[in-house]
Symmetry: C2
Subunit: 414 residues, 2 copies
Amino acid sequence: MIDVGPAPEPVRLADANDVLAPLRARFALPPALIYLDGNSLGAPPRTTAARVRQTIEAEWGGDLIASWNKHDWIGAPQRVGAKIARLIGAKATEVVVADSTSVSLFKLLAAALAHQSGRHTILTEPDNFPTDGYIAEGVVGLFPDRRLRAVPAEDLEAAIDTDTAVVLLTQVHYKSGRRWDMARLTQAAHRAGAVILWDLSHSTGAIPVDLGAAGADLAVGCGYKYLNGGPGAPSYLYVAERLQADLTSPLSGWMGHAAPFAFAPDYQPASGIDRFLTGTPPILSLVALEEAIDLFLDADMAAVAAKAEALSDLLIAEMEPLCAEHGFTLATPRRFAERGAHASFTHPHAYEICQALIAEGVVGDFRAPAILRLGPVPLYTRFEDVWRAVQVLRVVMEERRWDRPQYRVRARVT
Amino acid sequence: MIDVGPAPEPVRLADANDVLAPLRARFALPPALIYLDGNSLGAPPRTTAARVRQTIEAEWGGDLIASWNKHDWIGAPQRVGAKIARLIGAKATEVVVADSTSVSLFKLLAAALAHQSGRHTILTEPDNFPTDGYIAEGVVGLFPDRRLRAVPAEDLEAAIDTDTAVVLLTQVHYKSGRRWDMARLTQAAHRAGAVILWDLSHSTGAIPVDLGAAGADLAVGCGYKYLNGGPGAPSYLYVAERLQADLTSPLSGWMGHAAPFAFAPDYQPASGIDRFLTGTPPILSLVALEEAIDLFLDADMAAVAAKAEALSDLLIAEMEPLCAEHGFTLATPRRFAERGAHASFTHPHAYEICQALIAEGVVGDFRAPAILRLGPVPLYTRFEDVWRAVQVLRVVMEERRWDRPQYRVRARVT
């Protein structure tokens, strides 16, 4: 990595005073790497491999089919859900873990749309994380006379009306990092008689989330970003207790049945949150996620949010001279109350710059058409990492290191 | 375990002549256990834990987000699908792995129903594996004027008519073990203009499956039974090449998009089998499944089917005296061509008998209302295991060991 010298005193002090600093040692990160992409794929807790190995060798290998009871595999979706509930201000009986985020979103969106008869619109914003929009398209395609309507963020609240069945919003935008006021939008939806569904994929583990205080209806979230559950970790879904009896998932698989092991001929949904389960839970992925959530439960969530704010404030402040001198533009709201933990910067050469940074040991990511996204993570990013990343970027810009042919080749996944 | 003495010569000879015998050493099974429930949860390959650990520590921990390209995580659903294709007579481009069996079934059933406009019925048999029926209920609930019709097996072929949109059958029945003639039923469906969807959960890895030869349309199957992919392993789904362009999944997530990483605003399905993917693939569970499939690919599938026949023939033959003397009734067709690899026996005290057998180190399972199901598995069950299991059962019956209070308590999962 480019030598940028020692970090200045205030940065070193911030690390010295960081109450979450000890948590970094609980993650396995390559020592020479500055990883600012935990908002795309979180880092592995050091104990995840051992936990999964234990599940494979001692549980599966030792007790085989009996493990479903003996090691409570069968209760894993609810057990892990109850732990995640503590991170998002939900009750233990309002969250389950299962399936991909896309599938969870489909279940809740379809259930809500079926429930909101007489209302025709799913209202969302354009340029949302694509799978959310794609899934919403798939859902409305199943309901005659329903439609998906995308309204720019600044007009969205005013667009909620008596024809709105569901408002679908990602609390923190995956590119811009802009944060919706959850309580305010939830109230606006309720005033119009609409249901609101929050995608928390870029929120949980980074900013304060309190679904209960906001009076939220429905939510889904990703297990492999800030939650560190591993690649493709199962998602979680939340249904407020007061709505559980009124909504039923069209993905009515046996795990959502009132008595899954009675093998009854007809589907009878379970009475609580269990009705939103579908197939057999993916145990290996679930225990990896649980291991990561257990680590989270050792952290004070207020401290997590405070560090997210301080890290991203430092990032934005350090980037100011580069914005002035090297053509970057901050694409993220300046105030933490209006954004998530990551910061995005537009630049005409964002793709090549991102590749050059990676080659220098600083991992952020590129988002089309021209965004360099940098995501410090409260649980394992040091203030010094943020400072150092920006100094490396400065050298990349000053020496035009990004302007090399190998950085123009686009990879399949970025 | 009850001492039943040495196995007779023909049984020992069968093991000595078993070309698949070396494969047993590649599974981690408790040495004292006779495991006849691999049709519910397959045994762990010895190398699975190391493979998952490699994925967590070296890939995820070493390369983090870059692993999606560097270790081809992003290609895992297609890569593992192509390997499974070799076990089921499909082309490499006709199978992908993703989601639970229930979710895969939902995708294909909904896609087929949408395609078959003007036809109103999903035709299936009663007493199918419950989640198949439950999912079908969920799907028809989304389509006005569509219905689910269950017709007894003996009348089913004749019931396929011009109103039949989809015929949904599990090739090998989870309880009785009865096997449908795949080619025959597929032809019957096609003659009536219907599409047929096969659930292969109790077939693949146990009996010969050749979707191509049968002219099959659609199929799904479980990854954690005979395939040994681990608890809740992802399922596979098959769509015949000729149908891929006509069917679209309502679970239209980003992994099924023509260009997932272009982050385009509108959903455009991928051109081939990829369009049936939905969310981010569960990599830890996927690599565990791949490890198990790789082991399968070292076996001659004709030998696998031949051993399944020989093992289950031995089981049924050894059980004959117990049927005569202890009230068991064979609930499975006698001829292998008409059944799968497991054999089921009804008995008024099947539940308690199953528990007593487990306590004696012989693991089968109970299925309501009164079935003892025993599933020898070609890859790791020895002929001696089958013989010994029946002798232990004989002692359990002769000494009425099943008639103890602790065996009457029903566990949550059996």
